[in-house]
């Protein structure tokens, strides 16, 4: 009898548990369904669609439901993009500009943000809230507004030129946003090194662009856009660093002080290693954001500066929607997929170098 009841009880209990499990699983699917459906339809499917159209010659104009709207052309788009000749609107040119932009912006904004955060975190500082607000405020404005502000600030008759002229009477106005000359080109030019004196560099081509053009560096116009990016982002990055700094227990510093460590030693061997996951996060965000730079380029590029300013993301848009007479959806998606691969590889590489995961495990 007793044994019977016990086994009956376990049967009901286990079937109840089974029922509860099924219930939980069903709720699990139900709760995630709306969000996942959206992500699947508008993140994953588009990625596949992009990959698909990058293998076709569809121009974006021919209706898709018509027969022969497009043909499969294999890797021809990639071939034309990555192997064949070069025009102003070509991929390597956009890639060169984007790489300059990333290299110029990411380390600068990360370093500046760290320096500002360390100062704002000092015990002796008064007005911490004010500084934090002042630094963070630009991050809440739209990239379009910020581009408009810079368009005005750096225009030929704008306040920046005005201020420089007031400080340096001999200053000749720079047309910041329409100057195609490379920064390093200008620097070398000051020492008499010009295109004519280095024929070897002009003649040699890397990725279809002459070595001299690579060495010339970002143009003045691109440099202005880089300043814009740094100006906008350091506040956000600083707040992230500041939060991480405030999370470091004060005992760590007290112990270091007892050991007689100098402030620099403390920063080098305690603060920096402890901030490694944060640095990883800030650099990852920076890389992903800068490689995709679009809005600022959209507003600030002109026909004159297109060559030295357009980014890969803008090239994608321009190939697909910009040239109304000759849209090239196939090539545009091929460029987009290539950018995806580049960002992916860049993120993996920096994971190796900064090692976010390892730092977290420690």
């Amino acid at each position: 009898m007793a044994a019977n009841t016990a086994s009956a009880r376990t049967v009901t209990a286990s079937s109840q548990r089974g029922y509860a499990k099924t219930q939980e699983a069903l709720s699990g699917y139900g709760f995630i369904l709306p969000a996942f459906a959206i992500l699947f339809l508008f993140m994953i499917v588009p990625l596949i669609v992009a990959g698909y159209f990058s293998l076709t010659d569809w121009n974006g104009v021919r209706p898709l439901n018509v027969a022969n709207a497009y043909e499969f052309i294999g890797l021809e788009n990639y071939q034309r993009l990555l192997v064949d000749g070069r025009r102003v609107d070509d991929f390597y040119n956009a890639l060169k500009n984007t790489v300059y932009y990333v290299i110029g912006v990411v380390p600068t904004q990360t370093a500046l943000a760290l320096v500002l955060a360390v100062i704002v975190n000092q015990k002796w500082l008064k007005g911490r809230g004010f500084f934090r607000t002042a630094f963070y405020f630009p991050s809440i404005t739209s990239s379009i507004v910020v581009s408009m502000i810079f368009l005005f600030l750096f225009s030929n008759t704008g306040p920046v030129n005005g201020a420089l002229r007031a400080i340096f009477p001999s200053y000749e106005s720079i047309s910041w946003l329409s100057d195609n000359n490379g920064l390093i080109h200008n620097f070398l030019g000051a020492f008499g090194v010009t295109r004519a004196s280095v024929p070897g560099l002009v003649g040699t081509e890397v990725f279809n662009i002459s070595l001299w053009e690579w060495i010339s560096g970002p143009s003045v116009a691109m440099f202005t856009i880089m300043m814009l990016a740094i100006w906008t982002t350091i506040g956000t990055m600083m707040v992230v660093y500041l939060a991480a700094l405030q999370n470091i227990p004060s005992q760590v510093y007290e112990a270091a002080a007892v050991d007689g460590a100098t402030q620099w030693q403390v920063f080098r061997s305690i603060t920096m290693p402890l901030l490694r996951p944060t640095t990883f996060f800030v650099v990852t965000l920076g890389l992903i954001g800068t490689f995709q730079v679009f809005d600022q380029i959209f507003i600030l590029n002109t026909d004159a500066t297109k060559q030295t300013v357009i980014s890969v993301a803008y090239l994608v848009y321009d190939l697909a929607f910009g040239a109304l007479s000759d849209p090239q959806m196939g090539r545009a998606t091929a460029a987009a997929i290539t950018l995806f691969v580049i960002i992916f590889v860049a993120t993996l590489l920096q994971r190796r170098f900064i090692g976010g995961d390892r730092a977290v495990d420690e």
Binding site: E24, A25, Y29, G30, F31, I32, P34, A35, I38, L39, L41, F42, M43, I44, P46, L47, V49, A50, F53, V115, L116, Q122, L125, F131, R132, A134, F135, F137, I140, T141, S142, I144, V145, M148, L151, F152, S155, P159, W231, G235, V239, V240, A243, A244, T278, F281, T284, F291, Q292, D295, F298, I299, V312, V316, Y317, A320, M329, A332, T333, A336
Partner: protein, 329 residues
């Protein structure tokens, strides 16, 4: 010989070293303040100049962009007229600006507000886009985050990794396919299309998942034992506990959509009456070389003002939200 050389140098150098170190330590605050004040100046001045110049007539904006102190008389007319009211020309810059001071005008604002009612329409659209997406994401992201964090079902881990992977997809890859898809189903240039495409995001789901994992689950379990429906438990008990994370999510969503340009360009960029403020601002700028700075600057101020007000009211949550997501990221 060697030791004899070393010994006298030690006592003479040590005090000098500690003196200079003390000196450096005393100087640090001055250097620190100097750096912070300089950077704060660089971050604030552009906004101050933008606001000041948005109240000038266009000749004065290009001639004297540095004048920033408004003085009466206010409401200057930017057109010079004869006795009959016929416009003779634009007010010369020197008539509006004197040194660092200028007589403000609302000319730029009047123009953008009178130009076929477009700006109010754009502002309205922006508000609807931002509010709609915020509500949808609060709902969908928190439900999905809760499911990933608390509910056991086959494929839970797998879906989590998929959503993590989605974070890596750059938006520009999605532009063209999204355009094609929306066009095929007739949702291009509609509110519905905008809400459908952006109604949930991987970042928000992961934010909510992290949060739900950080709070204890006993209360919901108790409710569950009482036999309450899971959906009711979620909305009555779980969501109210998640307020801090929801505030961060709401701020990110609202700000992101208020300022969105690239997605809006693709989804609603084909119909002027569906523009948001960012697209509208681009329209005000025009494509030519002659930029009407009075319109552009006034439009920039109008676009930024609502976000600035929200920022100053909810400042704490902005900063907390960023550090919260940063630490977890």
């Amino acid at each position: 010989m060697a030791t004899a050389k070393v010994i006298p140098t030690v006592p003479t150098e040590a005090p000098v070293g500690s003196n200079s170190r003390a000196f450096i330590r005393r100087m640090l605050p001055f250097v620190g303040y100097a750096v912070l004040i300089f950077v704060a100046f660089l971050e604030i001045t552009p906004f101050a100049l933008t606001i000041a110049n948005s109240f000038k007539c266009d000749p004065a904006i290009t001639a004297f962009p540095g004048a920033f102190v408004p003085v009466p008389p206010f409401g200057v007319d930017c057109d010079v007229r004869d006795e009959n009211g016929t416009v003779l020309g634009r007010l010369p810059a020197s008539a509006q600006v004197d040194g660092a001071t200028f007589n403000p005008t609302s000319s730029g604002y009047n123009q953008i507000f009178s130009d076929g009612d477009q700006l109010p329409r754009w502002a309205f659209n922006t508000l609807i886009y931002a509010l709609g997406i915020t509500v949808l994401r609060i709902l969908f992201d928190s439900m999905a985050g809760y499911s990933l964090a608390r509910l056991k079902f086959p494929g839970n881990r797998f879906l989590f990794f998929i959503i993590l992977g989605i974070l890596m997809i750059p938006g520009v890859v999605l532009l063209i396919p999204r355009f094609i898809m929306l066009q095929q189903v007739g949702l291009i240039n509609t509110f519905g299309g905008y809400f459908l495409v952006l109604g949930a995001d991987a970042f928000g789901i992961l934010l909510m998942k992290q949060f739900f994992e950080s709070i204890p689950g006993e209360i919901e379990e108790a409710a569950q034992v009482d036999g309450a429906n899971r959906l009711i438990t979620f909305f009555r008990i779980v969501l109210p506990m998640a307020t801090p994370a929801l505030v961060a999510l709401a701020i990110f969503s609202f700000q992101g959509q208020w300022n969105n340009f690239m997605d809006a360009l693709i989804i609603v960029g084909g119909d002027q009456s569906m523009f948001n403020l960012s697209l509208g601002l681009n329209q005000l700028k025009g494509s030519g070389q002659d930029i009407q700075y009075d319109l552009v600057l006034a439009g920039s101020v109008i676009t930024t003002l609502p976000m600035a007000v929200i920022f100053f009211i909810f400042q704490r949550y902005f900063v907390e939200g960023v550090s919260y997501s940063g630490l977890k990221g």
